[in-house]
């Protein structure tokens, strides 16, 4: 790589990006549109917009370049509005190599960059050859973090957990969406019978609606296809995906909380789902730089315990001595009151809840941002209150303890606040703080 010149993306990039715009055009026209336009005219419109998109992406490719210099990743792009971004490499929180379907077929990959404080993922570098993407990732990470001193960079060869495909599919079949689908289909068939003058496009619309219902479980199964988690020196390395294979590292020092959920329909098989809230993952999250991520899409109780212990060392979900909610909480939470419990473990605050979906959440004390005690009118009748431990990120399980006696709730809150303060004010690396703070 020459230090002065910018490097171009792979020459196939405009073609791949242009093809993506085809789908947008087709989706925008929709069945209704095709019905009104007729197939030929529809096809011409799709082709015209597709070619325009292709030309546009080609221009985009011509004007895009990237370069690593002086601790910065520089990316120049933009056709009408030129942009020159300089991303300080030390601010990079994560670098992911992602292969969407088309890229996979052509041996290309895109590089996604996450920076602290940003709510969104930076525009990805798409596309590079897979080897070049991994190479660039290594270069960026080498700049971003000091290399490990003793441990090797290679993760465990045998994964800590892996999810067999039959179990993944069975788990998705055991969701309310899928179980209710036969009723929806029967209803649609009945509609056709009583109303025979539905057109072809009417049928197509119905099929689209059914596909919409199927979308979520199918997506879940495809995204988590061949899910593996391996323990590496710097965190948990997670790989998954059928069409878009993803390999990501979850840095241990960014873990805020981890939770396990066991939905009613999975409990017969002893299955559970584990997720984690961690700082600085802008992907798909509404909240600045934080997101809940899957640690285990579906697995046994033992596997769930293992992945939680892997991200929060020293935490064993089955070794927690739960302190159950007050018996009067049956009036506040009639279904789940027997499940409500709380525990102050050595390093984590643990809460248990849920009736249909059983949930446990463990929160790292040092990640608690603030603590609240609330007591609603109904709770007050029974002298009960709720303790909330506010954390950044969304583990998918509320970090609160319901059904505590008021005096105990206030004691818990003070205890939580005391434990949330670090014993010694150890200076954190600047990347740990979101940008725009000071």
């Amino acid at each position: 790589m020459t230090p002065t010149g910018m490097r171009r993306l792979h020459p196939l990039s405009p073609l791949l990006r242009g093809l993506r715009s085809f789908w947008f055009v087709i989706a925008a026209i929709s069945w209704q549109g095709f019905a009104q336009l007729g197939l030929t005219r529809g096809a011409i419109i799709v082709a015209a917009f597709g070619l325009l998109g292709l030309a546009w992406s080609w221009l985009g490719w011509l004007t895009t370049g990237y370069q690593i210099t002086q601790g910065e990743l520089r990316v120049n792009d933009g056709i009408l509005t030129r942009s020159r971004r300089a991303i300080p490499i030390e601010r990079l929180q994560a670098v992911d190599v992602v292969q969407p379907l088309l890229a996979r077929l052509t041996g290309l990959a895109e590089l996604r960059l996450e920076t602290a404080g940003g709510g969104k993922t930076e525009a990805p570098l798409s596309y590079l050859t897979l080897a070049a993407a991994h190479d660039l990732r290594r270069q960026l990470l080498a700049h971003a973090a000091p290399p490990p001193t003793e441990t090797t960079d290679t993760p465990q060869t045998t994964p800590l957990v892996s999810v067999p495909t039959p179990r993944l599919i069975a788990a998705q079949l055991l969701t309310p969406h899928i179980l209710l689908l036969p009723i929806a289909v029967a209803f649609t068939v009945w509609l056709f019978i009583i109303n025979p003058d539905l057109t072809l496009f009417g049928i197509a619309g119905t099929v689209t609606a059914v596909a919409g219902i199927l979308f979520q479980p199918v997506k879940e199964a495809m995204v988590n296809y061949r899910f593996t988690a391996r323990v590496a020196h710097d965190g948990l390395r997670v790989g998954h995906g059928l069409l878009e294979r993803r390999a990501q590292t979850l840095p241990l020092k960014r873990v805020i909380a981890a939770g396990v959920r066991a939905p009613l329909l999975w409990r017969g098989f002893g299955w559970a789902r584990a997720s984690v809230a961690s700082a600085a993952y802008g992907l798909d999250s509404g909240i600045e730089g934080f997101a809940g991520r899957t640690l285990l899409p579906v697995g046994t109780r033992l596997q769930a315990r293992q992945v939680v212990a892997a991200v929060l060392p020293g935490v064993d979900l089955d070794a927690i001595t739960w302190n159950p909610a007050h018996p009067r909480s049956r009036w506040v939470a009639p279904l789940s009151w027997r499940r409500l419990a709380v525990s102050m473990e050595d390093s984590v605050f643990a809460v248990r809840s849920g009736w249909a979906t059983r949930a446990e959440l463990v929160v790292d004390y040092r990640r608690i941002q603030s603590v609240r005690v609330t007591q609603g009118r109904w709770e007050r009748l029974f002298g009960l209150a709720t303790v909330h431990a506010d954390i950044a990120g969304a583990p998918g399980i509320a970090s609160r303890a319901r059904g505590r006696e008021l005096s105990e709730a206030l004691r818990l809150a003070r205890d939580l606040i005391r434990r949330s303060a670090p014993p010694a004010p150890a200076p954190l690396p600047p990347a740990d703080r979101p940008a725009g703070e000071g």
Binding site: S370, R372, I391, A392, L406, A413, P425
Partner: protein, 163 residues
Amino acid sequence: MQPDVWDVPGAQWRPVDARLARVRLINLYLVCVPLAGVAALLAVWWWGQRFAWLIAALALALLILRTVAIVRAVKVWAYAETDEHLLVRHGIWTRRLSIVPYGRLQYLDVTADPVSRVYRLATLVLHTAAATTDATVPGLSPQAATELRDRLAEVSGARTEGL
């Protein structure tokens, strides 16, 4: 207010300015009275007078309830600065106590709506990295709000603990 279990040892509770109730009531009436008037006119037009009276009575009852709630809520709204945390307590229907360590503060907002500005009152909102943090101190005089903000910014800068 009788001494209660909600108290935190070592906390010097400071009430918010009582004139906050007036600000909140004016804001309420500015929205609700015209709305109620329009609703009553429409009701007369469509259903006749008796129905309009019923609606007006209902609206008045709700407004009185809300007025009482606002006056009482402002009376119990209080905050306290300790060595390590800011404490805020408020709410009469749902009682709330928030404890925010200074080291967790990300940024502070001082805001004032037009009616507040007439009464020279401001609101201080504390933000941490958690979206659920609920620590708002209304009814501060502008200089008290600014002073509190600067004081908090100073102690939080000295104690930043990150995420």
